[in-house]
């Protein structure tokens, strides 16, 4: 052993830090249309290279190409575009509301809007999404009332969650949107259990769940995948790889060693790697996975390859740890721009209509925020105080009854 090198501890580092020039040139990106589309019932061994491809539909000329083209009606694309634009307009406005002191916290999904919007539109109303904090698009695509969002963010008297939760940790059962919590990843396994319950009951509803690429390191991620694989749960398990987990680049989660989609290989389930900024690709991959799930073929893991164009949250300043212009260099572009250009290329859209829609959506958001402000921003208006003692259990026990009395409410 003595003439062998001394061991050294390897700590991964991102290619560029503040002051460096961001360079995605080394990134190997298959062309649109290049990655094959297996049959949904293809044998697992034949799909083992899927995690190393990249499902892309929109080419550089904004045309839909290749085996994954879902051949969507323009109508669906218009719905998608609108929901994505609404998501971004809402994010921008509410982020500013935080800066103005109107609430305690906010998180944007800028650059990632295609993911939740396409998946929300693709799945059924009766299916259930187990969200992260970065999939507002799901609710936007399903026309969740903006005012309810604003009231939740302001924790005011109109808050549908009665002030219980940090801003944006929504719950919206009627919209197929499970309760979010601050804890990363701890609902991934709930999606599997929910899907198993649907199968147990002979129902036809399926579940979809999200985690960020950083969160894939949690043990619960593995446990959820193990259960999903063993019981062939009808669930779509999504990893939103936006390259960053607060200040940690994806290499800290293992991205330098393999893809996140490759984690599917550990469980013998298909792992798709998808351009997350390509609305059509996200739709197509989701459709494929949903079909598998509904045919009792089990779970699919989907890595949605994207980029977190904004800071992590209002508490974050990304210029401290990555080049300020890194987002602009992202080789897969902006999902809204790309869908817009596709519609224009199809002759279904133009710049004027786009600008008009943009300003209509901004108005809609502004009106909702005004209505929320009229009820009250954080601390200026509250749900009924006594409600803080409700729902600890279905029926209160003597502890909260006594404590509520002590508070005099």
């Amino acid at each position: 052993m003595n003439n062998q090198p001394r061991l050294t501890l390897h700590i991964p580092e991102p290619p560029a830090r503040p002051g460096d020039h961001p360079d995605f040139g080394g990134m190997k990106l298959p062309k649109a249309g290049e990655t094959m589309r297996p049959d949904v019932d293809a044998a697992e061994p034949t799909m083992r290279d899927m995690p190393f491809g990249l499902i892309r539909v929109l080419d550089d000329g904004h045309h839909a190409v290749g085996p994954w083209d879902p051949h969507l009606e323009a109508d669906v694309l218009h719905q998608g575009l609108r929901a994505m634009m609404l998501t971004r307009a809402f994010d921008d406005r509410l982020f500013r509301a935080h800066r103005q002191g109107k609430t305690s916290f906010y998180m944007k999904s800028t650059g990632e809007e295609a993911i939740a919007v396409a998946q929300s539109l693709m799945l059924d109303a009766r299916d259930m999404c187990f969200p992260t904090y970065r999939v507002l698009g799901w609710l936007m695509a399903r026309h969740y009332p903006l005012l309810d969002l604003v009231n939740q963010i302001f924790s005011n008297a109109g808050d549908p969650l009665r002030g219980r939760q940090l801003p944006i940790l929504y719950s919206a059962r009627a919209y197929g949107f499970y309760s979010i919590s601050g804890n990363l990843g701890s609902r991934f396994g709930h999606a599997v259990g929910w899907a198993m319950a649907s199968a147990y009951k002979g129902d036809d509803r399926i579940a979809l769940a999200y985690v960020g690429e950083g969160t894939t390191a949690e043990g619960g991620f593995h446990e959820a995948l193990t259960f999903a694989s063993v019981y062939r749960a009808p669930v779509i398990l999504c990893v939103t790889n936006n390259q960053w987990a607060i200040s940690s680049f994806s290499g800290i989660a293992g991205a330098n060693e393999t893809t996140f989609a490759a984690k599917a290989l550990a469980y013998g389930i298909p792992g798709l790697r998808v351009d997350g900024n390509d609305f059509l690709a996200v739709w197509a991959a989701t459709q494929w996975a949903a079909e598998r799930a509904r045919l009792n073929l089990g779970a699919t893991l989907i890595e949605l390859f994207t980029y977190r164009a904004s800071g992590h949250s209002t508490a974050d300043d990304p210029a401290k740890y990555r080049p300020a212009d890194e987002a602009l260099q992202w080789p897969l572009g902006d999902p809204i721009e790309r869908l817009k250009e596709h519609l224009i290329a199809r002759g279904e859209w133009d710049e004027e209509r786009h600008a008009a829609l943009q300003s209509a959506l901004e108005d809609e958001v502004r009106a909702a925020v005004r209505a929320g402000e009229a009820i009250g921003t954080l601390g200026k208006s509250k749900p009924e105080l006594g409600s803080m003692f409700e729902d600890v259990f279905k029926e209160p026990d003597w502890r909260v009854i006594e404590q509520r009395r002590e508070m005099g409410v």
């Binding site: 719950s171 059962r173 804890n183 396994g189 709930h190 147990y200 193990t226 259990f393 279905k394």
Partner: protein
Amino acid sequence: MPVMNMVQALNNALDEKLGADPDVLIFGEDVGYFGGVFRVTDGLQAKHGLTRCFDTPIAEGGIIATAIGMGAYGLRPVVEIQFADYILPAFDQLVSEAARLRYRSNGEFWAPLTVRTPYGGGIFGGQTHSQSPEAIFTHVVGLKTVVPSNPYDAKGLLIAAIEDDDPVIMLEPKRIYNGPFDGHHDRPLKTWAGHPKAEVPTGLYRVPLGKAAVVREGRAVTVLAYGTMVHVALAGIDEAGVDAELLDLRSLVPLDIEAITASVRKTGRCVILHEASRFGGFGGELSALVQERCFDHLKAPIERVAGWDTPYPHAFEWDYFPGPARLVTALRRVMEY
């Protein structure tokens, strides 16, 4: 009336709930074909079918997460954690998810799961098959914790837990699965036969969560105990020759504060007995509550008799275990105060 040991009573409760409610299902490590390492699910898969009672991967966090998701869908899962010592990998799921889902979603979702798990020592299980983790659950808002001490209560509490719309942890004192045990480890084993609480009715009945049982009435001192320690307490009271009132708490959360308060106000003295390590144990909470609510009635300090503040050592099981002798000492001290 059928006579059952605790394992049979629990099995019977599960059997009847599986039969009565198609939304009830059971899973956990080795609970399926084999029927569980303590045999509590014996025969249930054969009788009710593969999907009603099945084995899981060895991942306690995954078991609880799956159960929460099923609960959110509308089922009533009953899961087994093979030993309470191994519930810790699921602690985050229990605390951050099961216990908080109803509150944080303003009642949109909830987690009506029941977690059964054998706990406690006295079986030469060493450090990791002997622990009593109740205190880390009783502090968690949103979790209920119950502990039966006999077959009748085991069945009734389990049915009540399954029907409850909130997450319930049922700690099963494994030392008394097959017979009551009073701490005299050197005496012959007893079975449940002949014990009045081993008469277990068929059919669904409930022991309500939150109600203690007065096992023995008395005027001199109140003894608070649960699980195996109820039997140890009976022996200790007997040996001390004091007119003690013994409360079997049965449910730690919700706690029957009225029964406790009424008893200590009557007796003026209180001794708390549990097997878990003393420091930070549930006895601390009980002591604080009693002191707060019965201060003027107290004639002597409230005493705690509990496991030592060490892990549970294999060779010294009976030195760690708070048996009748330690209770007798405490009772005498309290009475002579």
